[in-house]
Amino acid sequence: MDKFTLVVSIVAATLRMATPLIFTGLGGVFSENAGVVNIGLEGMMITGAFFAVLGSFLTGSPLVGILFAAAAGGLIAALHAFLSINLRADQVISGTAINLFATAFASFMIFKVFNTGGQTNIVHSLSYNIPKFIQNIPILGTLLGGLNWFVYFALVLVFVTDFVLYKTPFGLRIRAVGEHPSAADTLGINVYKIRYTCVILSGMLAGIGGASLSIGISNLFREGMTAGRGYIALAALIFGNWKPKGTMWACLLFAFGSALQINAQMMSFQLPDEIYAMFPYVLTMLALAGFVGKTTAPAADGIPYIKGKR
């Protein structure tokens, strides 16, 4: 394979691997800008990934799978919202519990529905057929051929999120609630309602992120499939300064590490697999260490809002 095709293949793989991270990272954008730390993104991704497969398995349609994923992710996020907003639980601990619960629940469901251990049956994944004439365009064809529909959806969603957050009244309310909830409350914004909406939205997005993994890149659900991507998305969110576009760039950077791993066989220099596997995690830590000084979290991120308390 010549150098040029290799570059195209790496770019395509980067976009493909970034997609689950972008969905989940955007989920984090909503939740954290409204002031709720969501470390349970990993668990919501797992839930989404499993239910996408379940939906596709039951109905034969991957589109229903995506709906299942969003609904299941939203439902488990509602639990996180209830715990951290109403019951004022420590949000990191609540998120950890969500992750533990989701992992166990997905494995339980595999056992219950598919009667196997570790992975589900193979299901219909979201089909991706681009017309022949586009495929025949020299570079663009190879690039587009290496993607799937989730990739386009994710990229569009970045701009939609950016617009919603910075150009609409709803976005202004989200940011107000995340920066200074009592001031927002004084102005008649329902803090709890906004936070609930955002956390549930983040769960739905993380669920779709999981779906993009299980019925986008792959066609089944396997235990340990997400491999910490929820956490990496969270790191991307911090690295991207809690902004949608910044998060996208960070996701692309982290995905680049995985893309190198996929294309490692074709490269002239060979590193052991384990080194490539470590790459995204090390990159995440380096990114946080080098750039986090410049980023600022929403002021009320992670602090429960107690009505009537100064």
Partner: protein, 367 residues
């Protein structure tokens, strides 16, 4: 004038009240988690709603016979409990300092790796080899814990994400050492069994490690509540601003607590390897003791002594998971119980909520 015996009995009553009050909530959490878990048992067994108590007795019966059914099984269970005591204490130390060391998993894993490598050294006397293998694990865990501690203290980076990243990196470090260096058996995906001189002694089949774990719990309790350093750690955990105003160096204490936490986790790994498993395989996923340690510490309210009964509970669940599977109950029920326990402990605000409600009612009556 109050007589001496009266104050004594008063004191005793207060202490008893305190014990009951601090135990009530964990026990309630355990009760609720079993209550929830039974529904999953019913679902997996295909029971109807009327058979709730059948499912409950099934679950508890299987767990008890699976973990304590015979002497052999009881001893086996102890080998599950020991590492959980260590990882529980490790998490508890970090919680006390106000940091969330979710990286106990990675620190434990590296403790295992260090011990697996050091345990292979030929021709040492057990008197040298056993302290050496334990020291190696402790140092490895402590070093791994110092990274997020240092990054948090000096650069202000959230320790949670760094810890999680380090967990994954630790896993791949283990795989790298096993697959690519002479420390692993070539082409087999595991390290050789350690030398006899590095194996911890056994008492009736139970690794001596449980004694080390109990000693560790007492020492950490003493350190946290009876020494100046422990006072500083807890002060930083309760209110960093106030403690800084009082002349306590926050960053020094955060780093110290993380190193201590990591060292205890690494010690646990080394003890687990040299006392129970003797070798390690390459890892496809986390070993899990570190993650379970979080649940152990939360249930124990971050009290090192409390980690002992808490680890006993989770270790019992863990050791019965195979028997559960044989009885058509997915072993994930164990993790579901754990997660419900964590949820309940995290929401101890509920208690304050009802207290507040009570107080408000009282105020209305008085007014």
């Amino acid at each position: 004038m109050v007589s001496n015996s009266e104050t004594k009995s008063n004191k005793f009553l207060l202490a008893a009240k305190y014990v009951v009050r601090s135990l009530a909530f964990p026990l309630f959490a355990i009760f609720i988690s079993f209550f929830v878990a039974v529904f999953f048992v019913m679902w997996s067994k295909g029971y109807g709603i009327t058979q709730y108590f059948t499912a409950l007795t099934d679950l508890i019966g299987i767990i008890i016979t699976g973990s304590f059914g015979s002497t052999d099984q009881t001893l086996q269970t102890m080998n599950y409990v020991t590492p959980l005591i260590f990882t529980g204490i490790a998490s508890a130390v970090s919680f006390k300092c106000g940091i969330f060391n979710i990286g106990v998993e990675g620190q434990f894993t590296l403790g295992i790796l260090a011990a697996a490598v050091v345990g292979q050294i030929h021709g040492l006397s057990p008197i040298v080899h056993i302290p050496l293998i334990i020291l190696s694990g402790t140092v490895a865990g402590g070093l791994w814990g110092s990274i997020p501690g240092f990054l948090k203290a000096k650069l202000g980076i959230n320790e949670v994400i760094n810890c999680i990243m380090l967990n994954y990196i630790a896993m791949y470090v283990v795989n790298f050492v096993i697959m690519r260096t002479p420390a692993g058996i070539h082409g087999k995906g595991q390290t050789p069994i350690i030398q006899d001189s590095a194996k911890l002694m056994k008492l009736n089949g139970v690794s001596f490690g449980i004694i080390i774990a109990l000693i560790c719990a007492v020492v950490v309790f003493w350190l946290l509540w009876k020494t100046t350093k422990g006072y500083e750690i807890r002060a930083v955990g309760i209110n960093p601003h106030a403690s800084e105003y009082g002349g306590i160096n926050i960053s020094k204490n955060i780093i110290f607590a993380m190193v201590l936490s990591g060292a205890i986790a690494g010690l646990g790994g080394a003890v687990h390897l040299s006392g129970t498993v003797y070798m390690t395989t390459d890892l496809l996923s986390f070993i899990g003791y570190g993650m379970d340690g979080i649940a152990v510490a939360l249930l124990a309210k971050s009290n090192p002594i409390g980690c002992i009964p808490s680890a006993l509970l989770f270790g019992t669940l863990e050791s019965s998971s195979r028997i559960l599977q044989i009885n058509n109950i997915p072993k994930e029920v164990v993790y579901l119980i754990q997660s419900v326990v964590i949820v309940f402990v995290a929401t101890d605000y509920i208690v304050d909520y009802f207290k507040e409600k009570k107080r408000k009612k009282g105020a209305v009556v008085n007014g």
